[in-house]
């Protein structure tokens, strides 16, 4: 495998971030910028969106994991992202189980069978 691999970023509640950091994905770069965002009650939607966009613009990030209930808050930003890298994965959170019908990718795939496509 040539070159240095990319990072996995997380936007999630405390337990989700703690779990993934335990798994070894955490990084604080030279500018002390983390590759994760712990979303708390006080965290604003603007801050979440800004972090998500900054992760998308970083070339050293390969996968972005995001709790589905947080993804719902910034759905427009997620739907705008069409590139395959970084990949955006919606994951469940403790209070909100995963709902496939809300997932951006699966909704796009489901759109395949809409009336529009058969016209």
């Amino acid at each position: 495998m040539a070159g240095r691999g990319k990072l996995i970023a997380v936007i999630g509640d405390e337990d989700t971030c703690t779990g993934f950091l335990l798994g070894g994905i955490g990084e604080l770069n030279k500018n002390r910028k983390p590759n994760f965002l712990v979303v708390e009650k006080e965290t604003s939607i603007a801050e979440i969106e800004e972090t998500f966009k900054s992760f998308l613009s970083r070339s050293d990030i390969g996968i972005i994991l995001i709790n589905q209930f947080i993804a719902e808050m910034i759905r427009h930003a997620i739907d705008q992202h069409m590139e395959s890298i970084p990949a955006v994965l919606e994951i469940p959170s403790k209070e909100h189980p995963y709902d496939a019908s809300k997932d951006s990718i699966l909704r796009r795939a489901k759109g395949m069978f809409s009336a529009e496509d058969f016209r």
């Binding site: 990072l7 996995i8 989700t16 070894g24 712990v38 395949m112």
Partner: protein, 217 residues
């Protein structure tokens, strides 16, 4: 139905079956991913129960972090992205690192002059042994921050087994998330190919109808 239209239909059916298969695999992997995450949380909660309510929190994250997992990405010609996980082992601290640092203080005299040896009749002296001892590198006393530390150390040295179980679950989740990401990309690529194929089929159908009309005229 002309031969070209028939071919297009067969190709469309094949793509559609591949698309369905990919969706099925994606659903299976998703289910596994979600159950592993739940397992991880459950173990983490059990660890918190034995360690204390305020333990295993964001306040205990390390001040320095280096990733132990990286993902190698590549895009194939058909636009499909591939993700491959690479894991590095956390840096283990050695006994020398933990113990008191020897900053060059002489512990044992290694220089024996020929005169001293002759005068005292020292039996064990071997000139070559002395020079080898001099060349032998001392354990490095340079203090390097242990950046690639196992994240489990943030939460204590003697952590409960359940926290280790949580770590194992989340490591598996990380591996699986790369597979899910690759599958998502494959699903979207196949979808695009299917849409293209449908357009081609419709075009050939229209051309066939026009030709049929000309023949009847």
């Amino acid at each position: 139905m002309g031969p070209s239209e028939k071919e297009a239909c067969v190709l469309l059916d094949t793509r559609l079956l591949a698309f369905m298969d990919q969706l099925e695999i994606l659903e299976e992997k998703r289910e596994r991913l979600n159950s592993l995450i739940e397992q991880g949380w459950f173990s983490m909660t059990k660890a918190r129960y034995s360690m204390g309510n305020k333990q295993v929190s964001a306040l205990q994250y390390g001040s320095e972090m280096q990733p132990l997992v990286r993902v190698h990405t590549s895009t194939l010609d058909n636009g499909k992205a591939e993700f491959q996980i690479e894991r590095t082992a956390p840096g283990e601290r050695t006994v020398e690192d933990i113990g008191p640092k020897d900053t060059g203080g002489l512990r044992r005299r290694t220089h024996f002059t020929e005169e001293v040896v002759k005068a005292e009749g020292y039996q064990g002296y071997q000139p070559s042994a002395g020079t080898e001892a001099e060349k032998e590198p001392l354990p490095s006393s340079k203090v390097e921050p242990d950046l690639q530390q196992d994240p489990i150390r943030w939460f204590g040295i003697l952590v409960p087994q359940t926290l280790r179980q949580a770590q194992v679950s989340f490591r598996q989740v990380v591996e699986l998330s790369a597979e899910v990401a690759a599958l998502q990309s494959a699903v979207l690529t196949t979808r695009e190919q299917l849409q293209l194929q449908m357009k081609l089929k419709r075009r050939s159908q229209n051309e066939g109808q026009k030709e049929g009309q000309k023949d009847s005229d």
